[in-house]
Point group: C2
Chain length 407, copies 2
């Protein structure tokens, strides 16, 4: 029996978009769905009770962070990540690839590309002279060598290692180890990186399917290819048709990449025209309102993004009429809710004036109440898109929402 | 009709301690009770739902903080503090006196004692050369002049002003404005300060009882007197017998002061032997386990303290076998709860290992889960003391708890 069961209930006429259900060992995800991010095994500033109350059906935790702290083997000893973090619903982990690459890049350090080297001992990132904790990553043909952003310790992750870590964590949906390239790389580099991603996908798939965990953990292959149409389509085809020697393929697909905003819809369309219809598709790391509409319309079933909670902690809150910043003085005396059209517990209970007070007083509750609101807003926006697909009026809903939102 | 109604159900044989109920306009407080502190109109790191779930019957907010930010008049416009902070149960505010004095002292600045001056314009604290935001407080015969710790702005608080602020906030129980002296002051200074505290108590009482708010807000007078038996007894007698010209007295009593630990039980006993039996007594700012037993045994009905939440945020957690620090490496792999004898939601749901991970990862949820536990622990400890009084076995309970706790 397969670990995941995906059913399409209705499609958007003339488009790739669809509404369905994704059954996992820990419950059903009605799709399309927004996946709440709980990076280190906790959704920042929220209890799991809070997360449930926002309407969240599924949570995604980051393999990179949990591997480094507290360690995947330790989490396994605690009975797996569901139990460790007290989330009994559908759970995903990413492959760790994105963090390994982006933390290297994010800290302004060069990413070493020693692609011909296979001996991990030759892949040790040099210590940076600028810092005691260098964060270089070095790519080899079989994996990536990097230093921990916490203590500078050296690590080497291969596709097999990524899957092994994700088996220890035990999420319902896991991802193949991939290389996430910057859109500023040359086409030649994108091509090389894609070849590597496909090789790593095959290794991830074979390793995963050889283990008993594949009976209760579904593996998604990741399509890369940057902004190039031929690379995107080639990648979608390769990942879609990839099989173990025994003929087992991926249980679903991820669409990866650091997108420039204007490239996203074309890239998603290229990929989803190629990917098989009967398996779920996850657009990785995307969560802004317009992008969610674009993704759903073009056949994406799952989205994850830290934006709702990160922006809430910074004081940016979503409303049906666009975003607001709670730090603005006009909210100090405002007795109404963040958004009169919102049904979240924050909007039903607290005034903008109180939120403004908490924010100005640097009280943690400001982050909690803001995160509840933003998550509820985004999760329920995608739920409404789903309902609109079922009701046959997705385009009208999209138009009316975006008109009010962008005005 | 009086705003508060206090009933004694049972006393500890041969002691001053008693169990009872205190009816307020927003609900009944079974006493003795621990009062949860929500300094700025929020219990740090917790939602009001979390606070309720710890078993909290009553919350105390700080007048000084709310007066400065967001302002008591603003809170009044929001419908009062209950509504502003979403706490519909019994609510208290302190007088602001303690913060005015302790913030002056806490920042290492001298407290000016110009006690003969009555003109507030002569009470302006000098700007300190050490900082752009000096925080001096200057005591005059009618009030205290101080600078805001937030923006250095100048403020002058009299007994009437303190009551006016507390009327705007609208708590069920409010406190008379007093001077809280350091135990290191001379007896002569304690004597002068006490005379001032009594004069201010009379002014607080008369001002309060002249307003319609006295129908739904009870006013507690504060007994001071440092570590001196004669001053403590004199103060208790004066405050107990204090009346308006129309014959109205205080609705309850606070016992104030910065206590040295060894002086506390004698001071509490001196005071409670004098105070009338039929009104509630609140020991201000005390919340350690041994002190709670001492207070209850000696006739204290209410306690408030920031210790449970402040210590939780610092990683110190209560257990029946003493406190632990979650930062200790021995908890990284601990699969059990903080305290197997505890019934709080944190202990019922999360392992020490998960809490250790959250704490080491600097996740806000560490503060939330720790605060829920510590508050539940202390609130329910006092509830158990109450039950033990009703069951006639307070001393046995005290002995068995402290034996396990202090061992």
């Amino acid at each position: 029996m397969l670990p995941l069961n995906f059913n399409i209930e209705k499609e958007i006429e003339g488009e790739l978009g669809r509404a369905g259900t994704l059954e996992t060992p820990h419950g059903i995800i009605p799709t399309p769905a927004f996946v709440t991010v709980g990076t280190k095994g906790t959704v920042k500033a929220l209890s799991m009770e809070d997360v449930k109350n926002t309407g969240a059906d599924v949570v995604l935790a980051n393999t990179y962070h949990l591997y480094l702290q507290p360690g995947d083997e330790r989490i396994k000893k605690f009975g797996g990540l569901h139990r460790f973090m007290n989330w009994n619903g559908p759970l995903m982990t990413d492959s760790g690839g994105f963090q390994v690459f982006s933390l290297g890049a994010a800290y302004g350090k060069a990413l070493n590309k020693v692609v011909s080297v296979t001996d991990p001992s030759q892949l040790i990132p040099e210590r940076s002279s600028e810092s005691d904790v260098p964060r270089l990553a070095t790519i080899g043909s079989d994996g990536v060598s990097f230093r921990s952003h916490i203590d500078g310790s050296l690590h080497y992750i291969t596709p097999e290692k990524s899957i092994e870590i994700q088996h220890n964590l035990g999420a319902d949906i896991i991802f193949a180890f991939d290389e996430c390239t910057s859109p500023t790389e040359t086409v030649q580099y994108q091509d090389e990186a894609l070849e590597r991603t496909h090789r790593w996908a095959q290794k991830s798939l074979e390793y995963h399917k050889s283990k008993p965990n594949s009976e209760f953990q579904g593996l998604f292959g990741i399509v890369q290819g940057g902004r190039e149409e031929n690379l995107r389509k080639e990648s979608a085809l390769k990942i879609a048709e990839m099989k173990t020697p025994a003929g087992e393929g991926f249980d679903g697909f991820g669409i990866g990449g650091s997108f420039a905003k204007e490239d996203m819809s074309t890239a998603v369309k290229w990929v989803n025209e190629v990917l098989p219809n009967d398996k779920p598709r996850h657009l990785l790391g995307i969560g802004e309102q317009e992008d969610l509409f674009m993704g759903v319309e073009n056949g994406v079933d799952l989205f994850d993004c830290v934006a709702p909670t990160r922006r809430a902690r910074g004081g940016t809150l979503y409303t049906h009429e666009g975003t607001i910043n709670i730090g603005n003085t006009r909210f100090i005396d405002a007795t109404g809710p963040i958004d009169p059209q919102c049904g979240c517990s924050t909007c039903r209970t607290y005034s903008l004036g109180y939120l403004s007070h908490l924010y100005r007083s640097h009280e943690m509750l400001a982050s909690t109440l803001g995160s509840i609101h933003n998550l509820y807003f985004i999760i329920n926006l995608v739920k409404k898109m789903r309902q609109a697909i079922l009701d046959g009026n997705f385009k009208e809903f999209k138009e009316s929402f975006l008109k009010q939102y962008l005005d």
